[in-house]
């Protein structure tokens, strides 16, 4: 069994101080394996986004450990951390976070620009990704002029442009109608299958969660249940490894 891409153990995350202190995560263990698709589900306010941000190294836990490819993530500082965020991860947020006045292409190549990739190379890779998502003809349009589904595809293009190892998606279809949502899902799972990109999806959507290889349910800051989708179980977990179900800690 290869080392998991991400592994968190005994993860706590508290917000605030004193009487207003609130523990959003109360001891969470999760493993994300290379190439799998993992759904994080749970009620609103249960701590799904908090968990995803910790997995994506955007936030630091109050206590507990986060390992990236077997190495402790709290060793990463400054430049290295930024490199990981930039090259290893891709993000798809519920709100699109596109710069409205900039063109579609400019939005898509933002991670490349941050990475310091040259102008020509940026354009080439940006256009290639847009081509792939069927948005090449919109490259020069302002981001604000696109429909919701198109915007979400631009966001996916932006997440993909750096060829990441893991894509984190926080409610990627929450803003879309059923048909468009399904198209975006197909796109994400296609990338997962064909390019082996690991998917971590936070969702309320039962249908989307059921398409993932595995799901974990968060309730009040703890993992309640971990289930492996029957069809995907074989590919997701190596034989003899029960997928290290991250059981909820007893309350």
């Amino acid at each position: 069994m290869s080392t998991p891409v991400l592994r968190v153990e005994g993860l706590h995350r508290a917000y605030g101080r004193g009487p207003t202190r609130f523990e959003a995560l109360k001891g969470v263990d999760v493993e994300v394996r290379a190439g799998e698709s993992l759904a994080i589900v749970g009620k609103s306010g249960s701590g799904k986004s908090t968990l995803m941000h910790l997995l994506a190294l955007l936030d630091r836990p109050t206590s507990g450990s986060v390992e990236l490819n077997g190495l402790p993530a709290d060793r990463l500082r400054g430049r290295e951390l930024n490199r990981v965020r930039n090259q290893t991860f891709g993000f798809v947020f519920q709100q699109f976070f596109l710069t409205p006045s900039a063109t579609v292409l400019e939005n898509v190549i933002l991670p490349l620009k941050i990475a310091g990739v040259g102008r020509g190379e940026r354009k080439r890779r940006g256009m290639a990704v847009l081509e792939q998502l069927g948005l090449a003809d919109k490259a020069k349009n302002k981001a604000i002029d696109l429909s919701g589904g198109q915007k979400q595809r631009v966001v996916i293009a932006r997440a993909l442009v750096n060829d990441p190892q893991v894509i984190f998606a926080d409610e990627p279809t929450g803003n879309l109608d059923t048909t468009t949502g399904a198209a975006v899902e197909d796109l994400l799972f296609g990338l997962n299958r064909e390019r082996g990109i690991t998917l971590v999806v936070v969702t309320h959507d039962e249908e989307l969660a059921s398409r993932c290889d595995r799901r974990i349910t968060v309730r009040d800051g703890r993992i309640e249940a971990s289930a492996t989708a029957p069809t995907a179980a074989a590919t997701a977990a190596a034989p003899g490894e029960p997928g290290r179900p991250t059981e909820g800690v007893a309350a």
């Binding site: 965020r85 710069t99 941050i114």
Partner: protein, 433 residues
Amino acid sequence: MTPADVVGSAVANTFRSKTRTILTVLAIFIGAFTLTITTGLGTGINRYIDQTVAEIGAEDVMTVAHQAEETTDDGPREYDPDAVTASGLGADGPGGGGTIDPITDDDLVTIAAIDGVESVEPLKQVSVDYIQHDDGTRYEVSVGSFIPGMELVLASGEQPDPDAAAAQVAIPVDFVEPLGFDSQADALGSEVAFGVADATGVEHVVTVEVVGVSEAGLIGTGNSVSPNTALTDELYAAQATGAIGQTDLYGSAVVTFDPELGETATQALKDDLDEAGFTATTVEDQIGAFQSVIDGIVLVLNAFAVIALLAAGFGIVNTLLMSVQERTREIGLMKAMGMGSGRVFGLFSTEATFIGFLGSAVGVVLGMVAGTAVGDALATTMFADLPGLTLIAFDPTSVASIIVLVMAIAFLAGTIPAGRAARQDPIESLRYE
């Protein structure tokens, strides 16, 4: 992000909120414009003064005279038949008047022996009764003292040649028509006559060729004629005819020294002369007073302009704080995508600097256009009789330093919002509504 991308993005961001940017740029523009004009004023006037310095005399001479006696507490001054009227450089020069002991040949020897004195020449003071051309009207006129290295501001013709054997003179432009010349060109090459009364009251007439027509100046030649050495000697000889006492007595002497040796050497020379009982005045001393007044005024004006710029700096702080606020989520996103805090800081401070650059570039360009127009207009109206005076002038260094100064102020103002943007936490920013 590469530095080029940071600059490119910052410039693009500047134009995202056009109205706000334009208003901020306008505030900076006003400050930069004012600063350009006030600095231009300083440059223009000082340039004119420098030009005047060249006119009055070279930098390597100082006028030396006996120190005026203390008159405050020793009662009425005793009559001294040998006392002469002292005068500074040039007939209209400041610091003239008052009777002092004359410079004698012995004094000249004493002065020549002082360390640092390269040569010493008595300053021959001549006064003529009138100037006349072709039996026309006679006019009163004063004769300027000729100092080697002196350069006149000429309206036409040439500088009187100090080494020429023949007597030469330059007359002030105001004398051209009254003397009966049709034009300046007509005057050049013509002869004028000076009437000189000698010690016994006998009238001598000295004729001389006009080689130049001089402009009026701020100080210096003014309305006196400028002779060359030959003419001075000739007039002096005529004036001294029959004199008994004063022949070898002069009001002052001109000492040549080496200005290359620096301020301290010059000061040491002055001190030595002072000890020997003489006062020495360099051209700089005379001009220095003017220049320090002008510099003081310009400094105050510049201070006002800088205050305007500081106010504009707060405009930049305000604009960019708003911009940081508006772009909170964008900043969060860029940080989530691995942009370092330093780059975020760079992005916003570059944006501030660019706004400063826009305001100052526009301000400086329009300031130069307006300043030049006003300067030219004044030169032909208010200052028509001070030719060569361009009230507002510009030199590349001061113009460039205005732009750099404004950009520096803008950068400093930008550090406040840029610091705030750099400190933003990616998660908080992404949660921001």
